[in-house]
């Protein structure tokens, strides 16, 4: 019997780079570019980073080597402002204070060896720096050690400033690649740090928990885009999603306080004026910052995922006796600050894309689509925390699956702008949530 030749043959797909040249690709941005998720930078996250996924696809049409400042394998690392290191978050199964099965999420031990300087092994193609704000991407302090700089960039900066006192810059290191193509996803850290700290910072400041002044942001975008395109490189730029579409900010409902009629009546007798309860779902009680007064949350206001869940479930948090501390709350003023600045930042990103002919990835819109779920090869992923699989255990950063979904959005935008036909990546081969 003839054993060969019977498998039906399908034409090999032919891919082309269109008007783009992917030979030397460099990626600039923050944690979302670095591959940071599950609350830490890990090697597996770096390998699933959006730029690394893009580089694999670019390799189909002439893309060259894509070198990342990889950590050693293991639990990864997250560095706090004091330089203390822990590892990524891990999901565990537990019986909660109410006797119900649910999940625990906690950091596991980190890998301090990952902090070793590897800048002499560069230049690197992925210049995603967790926590870096727009104006820090050209800061000559960022690569310095200690709290003055950024621990993550300090790892792989080409010059940590040990001699001159001034370090290399992220944008300068990017130019060492002499890129033909770049990706830029900046601005998240310019507003999310304010949001994830419950709005303790100021609007229009350059501190860690502040929202960057719009003029500063605009200037940073111009400087960075001009720098990256100075040698004629083409590129792709992504905008900033709305925090209301991110699990860290939308998982705990403002009205998650469920009461019986008797409980409501009893609470009403001890509540100050303006606070009242009824049977069913009620708004949580929160403290007003600084004043010692309390109030009930309004529809649209957000609670952070970082609220100790046992305190909320069993510790009486959210009742008049135990108002939720203000740093877990994004009130309507803070929310409006955040939203209006995201809009301003995104307007600038769109304008820069139009001015320089960049592909624009509307991640802001994609996150809205993700709320109800998107399908890839039969699997549905959504923005729901844990069950949706698109976000990692930190609730802010995408899971590896989420990175792959967003990378496909990048590819769609690049294909449309530069008339190429890169295939999407197989999202389902990336890790979502590993359940215990």
């Amino acid at each position: 019997m003839l054993l060969g030749g019977c498998k039906p043959s399908l034409d090999e797909p032919r891919y082309n780079a269109g008007e783009a040249d992917f030979e030397r690709f460099v990626a600039v941005g923050s944690s979302f570019t670095a591959g940071y998720n599950d609350g830490a930078l890990t090697r597996t996250g770096q390998e699933a980073s959006i730029p690394n996924i893009l580089a694999q696809q670019f390799a189909l049409v002439g893309g060259g080597e894509f070198k990342q400042p990889l950590l050693p394998a293991g639990n990864g690392l997250v560095v706090n402002s004091l330089g203390q290191i822990t590892g990524q978050l891990a999901l565990s199964s537990r019986i909660n204070c109410a006797g119900k099965p649910d999940f625990g999420i906690a950091n596991i031990s980190g890998n301090a060896a990952g902090m070793q300087w590897i800048g002499n092994d560069g230049p690197y193609n992925n210049l995603g720096v967790p926590g870096a704000k727009s104006f820090q991407l050209y800061s000559q302090f960022l690569g310095k050690g200690g709290s003055a700089g950024n621990y993550y960039y300090h790892r792989f900066a080409s010059d940590t400033g040990s001699v001159s006192g001034l370090s290399s810059t992220v944008i300068g290191d990017a130019q060492l690649i002499n890129p033909t193509f770049f990706s830029l996803w900046m601005g998240n850290s310019d507003v999310y740090t304010y949001a994830s700290a419950g709005g303790v910072g100021v609007v229009g400041g350059i501190g860690t928990y502040d929202i960057t002044p719009i003029d500063t942001f605009n200037k940073a975008v111009d400087f960075i885009v001009n720098g990256l395109t100075s040698n004629g490189a083409k590129g792709v730029i992504a905008n900033i999603p709305d925090i209301s579409d991110i699990p860290y900010f939308n998982t705990i409902p403002y009205n998650g306080l469920t009461l019986t009629a008797a409980q409501a009546t009893a609470l009403n007798t001890v509540s100050p004026p303006g606070i009242s309860f009824a049977a069913g779902a009620n708004s949580f009680v929160v403290e007003n910052p600084g004043s010692g007064t309390i109030r009930q949350l309004k529809s649209g206001e957000l609670l952070l995922l970082s609220i100790p869940s046992d305190s909320l479930l069993c510790g009486g948090w959210g009742l008049p006796q135990h108002p939720i501390p203000a740093n877990y709350v994004i009130d309507s003023t803070e929310l409006s600050n955040i939203k209006s600045n995201i809009t301003l930042f995104n307007n600038k990103i769109s304008a820069a894309a139009a001015a320089k002919g960049l592909a624009l990835v509307d991640v802001n819109h994609f996150y809205k689509t993700l709320q109800s779920g998107v399908k890839f090869n039969g699997a549905t992923m959504s923005a729901s925390f844990l069950s949706g699989a698109a976000f990692s255990l930190d609730g802010v950063h995408p899971s590896n699956k989420g990175f792959a979904l967003i990378a496909n959005e990048f590819i769609t935008a690049i294909n449309a702008r530069f008339k190429c036909n890169l295939p999407p990546v197989d999202v389902n081969s990336y890790t979502g949530i590993i359940f215990p």
Binding site: P8, L10, F376, G378, A379, P424, N428
Partner: protein
């Protein structure tokens, strides 16, 4: 053509209809609703049963060897691993009284079988699918005169489904999976009219649609993360119900004896696939698992032609050609049944053995057209499918 004897997929006509219901008919492209060649007439046209002048016992098995390749949206080509399916048919036709003949058909007019690698890109849609409908059809046929006859028989259909797919819930032990198994029965009818005049014959046959209700189906979940079992997201097993509606088939056929040795036939089929509009799995006690998927099949036609040549007393040669239209519309092409329009080439030989025995051999090649799914409505599972399919058949006949 026998080269790829190790492959899967048992859909060998449009949709999940199986048209190899006898080796002689298969050899002629299935174009036999106007003529009574053997006991399979009970199934192809109960009306023509009245025109047999002696009895037939036919038993046959088909060896179906399909090969499907899939080029997905990510640019990776995947092929089904080797599978083989063997639907069978048994017919008895008895010339009972001068004007009344009776018969019995036991066959599998519908079925499908697909099996992909368990970790392939479409695993959340299907890893393995098996569906078959066994038809038991006692039949009576009445001849008004030497020209016109009718026949009818109830169809008792025993349906069986077994579907396995992966679930997108992972633990350190890998992904979960679910197997859905169930069976059900239904009743329909097969009726036909036959008109014969000299060298010319006309046949008209109609099989009704039947709905197989599967209640008490068993869903068993494997490799589910223990935390999701604990919190009730997924049970370890559950009961479901579903139903599959098999379509009606209308056939119009003509046959002409060009010479005493040469018969040519032509058939037209119209299959009422529109009834297969959705496939729903409902879990009474676990409604979070309910699945409702539109299928939206459309009615489909087939055109079939055949020729038979009685070379010698012992040897009869046959050949056939058919075009079979797919009922699956763009947007609904699924890897359980990556269907497309197909061209069918067939040939066969009958050889008289000792006594009243004879053997029938058939060989069929189906060229299923390349099918490109751009935007699947249900799953976003897009790509290009291509199937080739070889069917060998062996039948044994006893005449009395």
């Amino acid at each position: 053509m026998f080269g790829c004897l190790l492959a899967p997929l048992l859909s060998i006509a449009g949709g999940f209809q199986i048209n190899t219901q006898g080796q002689k008919s298969t050899s002629m492209g299935g174009s036999v609703s106007s003529v009574a060649l053997d006991g399979s007439v009970v199934f192809y046209n109960p009306g023509a049963l009245a025109f047999i002048d002696h009895g037939y016992l036919n038993a046959g098995v088909s060896l179906i060897v399909p090969k499907t390749s899939f080029l997905g949206q990510t640019g990776v080509e995947e092929s089904m691993p080797g599978q083989m399916y063997t639907p069978f048919s048994v017919y008895a036709a008895y010339a009972w009284k001068p004007k009344v003949n009776i018969g019995l058909a036991i066959n599998t007019p519908f079925g499908l079988g697909t099996k992909w690698d368990s970790n392939w890109s479409g695993r959340y849609i299907t890893q393995e699918a098996k569906l078959n409908a066994l038809n038991i059809q006692p039949t009576v046929s009445y001849k008004f005169n030497d020209h016109l006859s009718i026949g009818v028989g109830p169809m008792i259909v025993l349906g069986n489904a077994d579907l396995t797919k992966a679930l997108p819930y992972a633990s350190s032990a890998g992904e979960a999976a679910v197997e859905l198994k169930g069976s059900g029965t239904s009743v329909g009818a097969n009726a036909g009219v036959n008109y014969v005049s000299g060298n010319f014959a006309l046949g008209l046959a109609y099989r009704t649609s039947t709905k197989i209700d599967i209640t008490g189906g068993d869903a068993s979940f494997t490799n589910v993360p223990s935390s999701l079992l604990q919190n009730g997201t997924i049970p370890s097993s559950a009961s479901f119900e579903t139903s599959v509606t098999l379509p009606s088939v209308f056939s119009l056929g003509a046959g002409y004896n060009v010479t005493p040795k040469v018969l040519i036939t032509l058939d037209f089929n119209y299959t009422g696939w529109k009834v297969y509009d959705s496939l729903n799995f409902i879990f009474a006690d676990n409604s979070q698992l309910d699945s409702r998927q539109a299928r939206n099949y459309k009615n489909a036609v087939a055109v079939r032609g055949g020729i038979q040549y009685k070379k010698t007393e012992r040897i009869t040669l046959r050949a056939g050609l058919a075009f079979d239209q797919t009922p699956v519309q763009d947007g609904y092409v699924s890897p359980e049944l990556p269907d497309a329009n197909r061209l069918i080439y067939a040939a066969g030989i009958s050889y008289k053995l000792k006594g009243n025995f004879s053997a029938d051999l058939s060989l069929m090649y189906e060229n299923v057209k390349e099918r490109k799914e751009v935007d699947n409505m249900q799953t976003n599972f897009n790509g290009t499918y291509k199937t080739n399919l070889v069917v060998g058949g062996l039948g044994l006949q006893y005449e009395f």
